[in-house]
């Protein structure tokens, strides 16, 4: 279980997959965005959820990373408290070629998807969301920078959905 692993074990698990694959493709497969007209003065609270899947068919590893970022007007009294201002989703699919015959453990694949693939995608998602929020008329939003350790900590607290 990822949640029971130490940060160093998560990093090691991801490395075990990295040693046997090489990146062959990266695509932005789907995006959606929504916004309302910007308020004249407001503090916006933002939240980011990253959904990760990783699977292997023997010759390839395919990882999907979906960013879901939204901003809500911060509750400070008045009629507009908590109202959603904008939301952006972007879905990336990353393909790797497995160039060895080593069987990749599911847990290692999941750690690889969360840590390695997300780190690969993050700069692209960051640039995309920066541009989209600017075009919406809001100040451009910059996703926080992520390190391997940040992702490992998030992996330990990862919610698992089916």
């Amino acid at each position: 279980m990822l949640v029971e692993m130490q940060v160093s074990d998560l990093i090691a698990a991801a490395s075990r997959v990295e040693d046997h694959v090489k990146l062959t493709g990266l695509r932005l497969t789907e995006t959606s965005s929504w916004s309302r007209e910007p308020p004249t003065a407001a503090q916006l609270q933002t939240g980011m959820t990253i959904n990760v899947t990783a699977r292997s068919d023997g010759t390839r590893v395919i990882a999907d990373v979906e960013y879901n970022v939204r901003a809500e007007e911060r509750e400070c009294g008045g009629d507009q408290a908590g109202e959603r201002c904008w939301e952006v989703k972007c879905h990336y699919s990353v393909e790797y070629e497995a160039y060895t015959d080593v069987a990749l453990a599911t847990q290692d694949l999941e750690a690889f998807g969360i840590m390695s693939t997300t780190l690969t995608i993050h700069p692209y998602a960051r640039a995309f969301i920066h541009d989209i929020t600017a075009q919406m008329g809001y100040p451009p939003f910059n996703l926080p920078l992520l390190t391997t350790r940040d992702l490992a900590e998030m992996a330990k607290n990862a919610k698992i959905t089916v």
């Binding site: 959820t49 990760v52 899947t53 008329g137 919610k159």
Partner: protein, 125 residues
């Protein structure tokens, strides 16, 4: 033979309309540069959107005060200039109007605390 009946009265009327047109064109240009809608400008000025449309269409009297407030809401200052009216009979040249971006203008929207989490999605067996 000019189509323009050049009298002091018509010349004055033409000068007024020419300046009004230059001002409304400048506002329209500023709106386009900012990439906002007329509805948003109306919200910033606390007026109805129809008010903005009527001002830009010339249906309402555009005073210097309303012109300045519109440009300020768009984050611009207005620079005025003048030039000699032509000595020859005919329409007078318009006073030059320029807009200058207000470097201190910032939309007052700030981001606070980004909560981040990861969800691992597993395929159903």
């Amino acid at each position: 033979m000019s189509w323009f009946n050049d009298t002091p009265e018509t010349r004055r009327l033409f000068a007024e309309e020419e300046l009004l047109l230059a001002a409304t064109e400048l506002v329209a240009q500023a709106i386009e540069e900012r990439g906002i809608t007329r509805q948003e400008l109306a919200r910033r000025l606390d007026v109805r959107p129809s008010e903005i449309t009527q001002r830009l269409a010339g249906a309402r009297n555009l005073t210097l005060r309303t012109f300045a407030s519109m440009m300020d809401a768009l984050g611009f200052k207005v620079l005025l200039g003048k030039c000699e009216r032509d000595a020859q009979p005919g329409p007078a040249r318009a006073m030059s109007l320029q807009m200058q971006e207000d470097q201190t203008y910032q939309p007052n929207v700030r981001y606070t605390s980004t909560g981040a989490r990861i969800q691992l999605v597993r395929e159903a067996c």
